[in-house]
Symmetry: C2
Amino acid sequence: MKIGQVSKKTDLPVQTIRYYETQNLIKSAGRTEGNFRVYDSKVIDQLEFIKHCRHLDLSLSDIKRINELRDNPNAVCEEVNELINDQVKMVKIKMKELRHLKTQLEALTDSCSNNQKVGDCGIIKSLQECDC
Amino acid sequence: MKIGQVSKKTDLPVQTIRYYETQNLIKSAGRTEGNFRVYDSKVIDQLEFIKHCRHLDLSLSDIKRINELRDNPNAVCEEVNELINDQVKMVKIKMKELRHLKTQLEALTDSCSNNQKVGDCGIIKSLQECDC
DNA sequence: TTTAATATCTATAGCCACTATAGAGTCAAG
DNA sequence: CTTGACTCTATAGTGGCTATAGATATTAAA
């Protein structure tokens, strides 16, 4: 199987698959005479795994670490658990930030009374004042 | 006033101030004989304005646009309002994504029953299955 | 006055996870 | 035998900084 076919099956851009190779997340089975990458079907599962992890916003280095642990089934599960918990923490922090952001932005839009002229715009006035 | 003093007053790294200059968000009033940037006090307000906007996660190009409109007080307010509304929309989308993420990640941690061994780890098993 | 410390300068590279481009080579169908 | 689709490598760009190296400038202490 060549890279284009892998791309179609996984719905990942060809470039991305090559990029994952440079990051040592996957390996091709070898090359053709013409230097084209050849893959066996195993890579589809690997890429789907990566996709799933990326969907959870795990970093490529986290994914790499999880892969290393997967290859070593006697390893202790704790590290994977910590990794996911850290991710949950990060997501919670980001959500909190966004909630704050939303509040501030909505206050801004409320301060625009459609005055038409920028010189009278409540938004710009508000941006000039500091409420941090 | 030299850049170090501006940095202290605004609590922005010197590098960042220079970076904002390369992006045409601010200008120095000129240079000393020794080629050091010189600023007048106006720049403090400008940087505080930028800080405030960045705090709202507005992009530097958005900030630049707002500045252009500010310099032209007869411009129509609508564009600023749209810009902020778009930002609110983006924030809402991101929040939605994060809520989804959080749900999935928390389901994952629940599936780790502290089995100790990676080979039995519910998290890794779950990551292998696709529930998209 | 010398010297040492501090501040500033430019230019460049790194971060992350891709994405896009250029230019060259490979391969299959008509 | 040519056309077009595919693949290859290498490189640059994205955003908003941050960090570094190496040079120059200024200030304070000895």
